[in-house]
Amino acid sequence: MSTLVLVLLTGIGLGALYFLVASGLSLIYGLMHVLNFAHGAFLTLGAFMGFEVARRLDSTSWWAFAVSILVGGLVGAGVAALTELALIRPLYERHIEQVLVTVGLAFAAVALYEGIWGSDPIYIQAPAWMRETTGVLGAQVPNTYWVLMAAATALLISLVVFLRYTRFGTIIRAGVENRAMVTALGIDVRTAFLLVFAIGGSAAGVGGVLAAHYTGYVSAHLGSTLLIFAFIVTVIGGLGSLPGAAIASVMVAVLQQFANYYLGGTGDIIVVVALAGVLLVRPSGLLGRRFA
């Protein structure tokens, strides 16, 4: 029983991490039809910058942790906004080229990170509480997972509020549905593009700092692996659907943890099999509209 709870809760925690990455991907794809390969690079940069800041403060203190989260988010937002302005915008509507430049950026960024921080993992410190566990129904759940869940929940709520109750949110929702018509109402949809990139980037940056606490280290490749799972999650959830991404994140991660625990570490494979299954039954994903 306690193992079951443990596997379930760690699954949800991992799903929370996936959601931090996938939410931005899904929003960006939904609005702009851009597959952002550089999202993992945003995440990694957030993690490194968060680490650099925390290490200059007292990295075992809560306040350093809070600042590192903030810095991760800001750096992620900044670099994502720059990417949109410098690389994505000039290639307006040329979707393949847009994918390609993000691929190139991811490629170059990882190499650059290796140049700066080396290719070995750098182990990081955290507030003592984050290294401890909390008992739930007999299961000892590492506290990092609670932080992940809290962060993802906060992100989900603020995204929903933003999308539902602000003018920009309305523009984004309308743009996901029919971009051309948004411009035909006299709205410069590119502002929304920039915003979506920045939001996605900041979620990824925060996700990077938390991912570093989840794995215990930062490395130049931190984002690459997470990105692939985030891709899987967005496809399963339905591209462009935020609730879909949220549900799929948790489902995929829980499935993965269960397979890892009960089926001899086959989690990664099971996830891909699940992806294949979803595609065969429902190519548009769980909550996606028809796209193929």
Binding site: V101, L279, F291
Partner: protein
């Protein structure tokens, strides 16, 4: 017009150039040519032959990828899976089944074919960007499988070739020449397959589906079948190249199944020019030599003496390649071949009224072709 000129005209220029190039390449191991700064040793020595073989591996892999992106307009991020299947298939066949080389090659190709059929059929449930993501996921699963099952694949360490079943003339540094010729043969085979696909009904169909899926449907043809077939042929070619790679390197590492490798191939194809067969080959060669040169440069004293703002990026070959790639995509949309091609046709248009349609290697489709596929997918998503 004299008869001689007319006769000469019947043999297309690119064919003459191509045959000449193949003969030249075949003779290189017998010649003593030095190209300082580009090739590490004279052409008859193993150092250069190994580098050129690797370049041909990349060229052939890029050609196979060009069938996907250039001809059928499919952006796949999982092509390395089939390359890896060939390499690992051969290695596992020789090691675990204990078969000799040729049956081993057969096993590897069959393995690549089966994997391509299954993953291709599933991936093609979607198109455009989702297709790219799904192929990436499959390749990732393959990469995980390879890393995990170290008893079969050697895990992170990689798998070295069990040479017991391989004929002696294909083993060891002393036989680099033979391996070089074998690789050249593989490149030639992939090239011919690529030409055949582009010219066959299948290629026309694949191009047509890329441009207008609806029209093909109306014509009563099954576009997804054509695309799957191109996908499988391209994958099979990649497996063949993987086999050659395994022989050449006497081993393979998990990177040969990774998304990194696919992206490398994508970089090569875009650099060379999407849709141009000769572009893929030039891209493969340029990339390999550039990669090697940049690595040498990265360790050089000149770089060491730079301030760290310049030193750190310049000592990372992949950073330079990534940045170069971005620049090509943004400012040189046709890649090397596309730029040369449009420059040539502009010149041809300028120099009176020559018959323009002479290139054997007319672009099988620019990147815009694939663009439309994505657009269509996007529009469908909106409706």
């Amino acid at each position: 017009m004299t008869a001689a000129v007319a006769a000469a005209r019947r043999i297309p220029v690119p064919l003459v150039v191509g045959v000449g190039l193949v003969i030249l390449m075949a003779c290189l191991p017998l010649l003593n040519i030095s190209v300082p700064g580009v090739l590490p040793t004279p052409t008859y020595q193993p150092g250069t032959l190994a580098l050129l073989s690797l370049a041909m591996i990349f060229a052939a892999l890029a050609l196979s990828y060009n069938m996907l992106l250039g001809t059928a307009g499919m952006l796949s991020f999982g092509h390395a899976l089939y390359f890896g299947a060939g390499a690992y298939g051969l290695g596992i066949g020789l090691e675990n089944l204990g078969v000799p080389l040729w049956p081993g090659v057969f096993v590897a190709l069959i393995g690549g074919l089966v994997i391509a059929l299954v993953t291709g059929a599933v991936s093609m449930r979607v198109s455009g960007i989702p297709f790219a993501m799904v192929t990436l996921a499959f390749a990732q699963a393959g990469s995980v499988l390879v890393r995990r099952n170290s008893s079969v694949t050697g895990g992170e360490e990689g798998l070295s070739l069990n040479t017991a079943g391989v004929p002696d003339w294909l083993v060891g540094v002393v036989n680099t020449r033979n391996l070089y010729w074998a690789t050249l043969a593989v490149l030639l085979v992939v090239y011919l397959v690529s030409v055949w696909v582009d010219r066959s009904r299948l290629g026309h169909l694949a191009r047509a589906t890329r441009e207008n899926e609806l029209r093909v449907r109306v014509l009563g043809l099954e576009p997804s079948r054509a695309r799957l077939l191109v996908f499988v042929i391209a994958a099979l070619c990649a497996s063949l190249v993987g086999v050659a790679y395994m022989l050449l390197q006497s081993g393979t590492v998990p990177r040969s199944v990774s998304a990194d490798l696919t992206i490398t191939v994508l970089v090569i194809v875009v650099l060379g020019g999407v849709g141009y067969r000769w572009g893929a080959i030039v891209g493969g060669v340029v990339y390999t030599i550039l990669d090697q040169r940049l690595t040498v440069l990265a360790g050089s004293d000149m770089i060491e003496s730079l301030p760290s703002v310049l030193r750190v990026p310049l000592s990372e070959p992949l950073f330079i390649l990534g940045a170069l790639f971005i620049l090509v995509v943004m400012f040189l949309p046709g890649g090397i071949a596309g730029t040369v091609d449009s420059w040539m046709s502009r010149r041809r248009a300028g120099s009176a009224h020559g018959d323009a349609e002479m290139s054997d290697d007319a672009p099988a489709g620019r990147i815009e072709g694939a663009e439309q596929v994505l657009e269509t997918a996007g529009q469908e998503a909106r409706s």
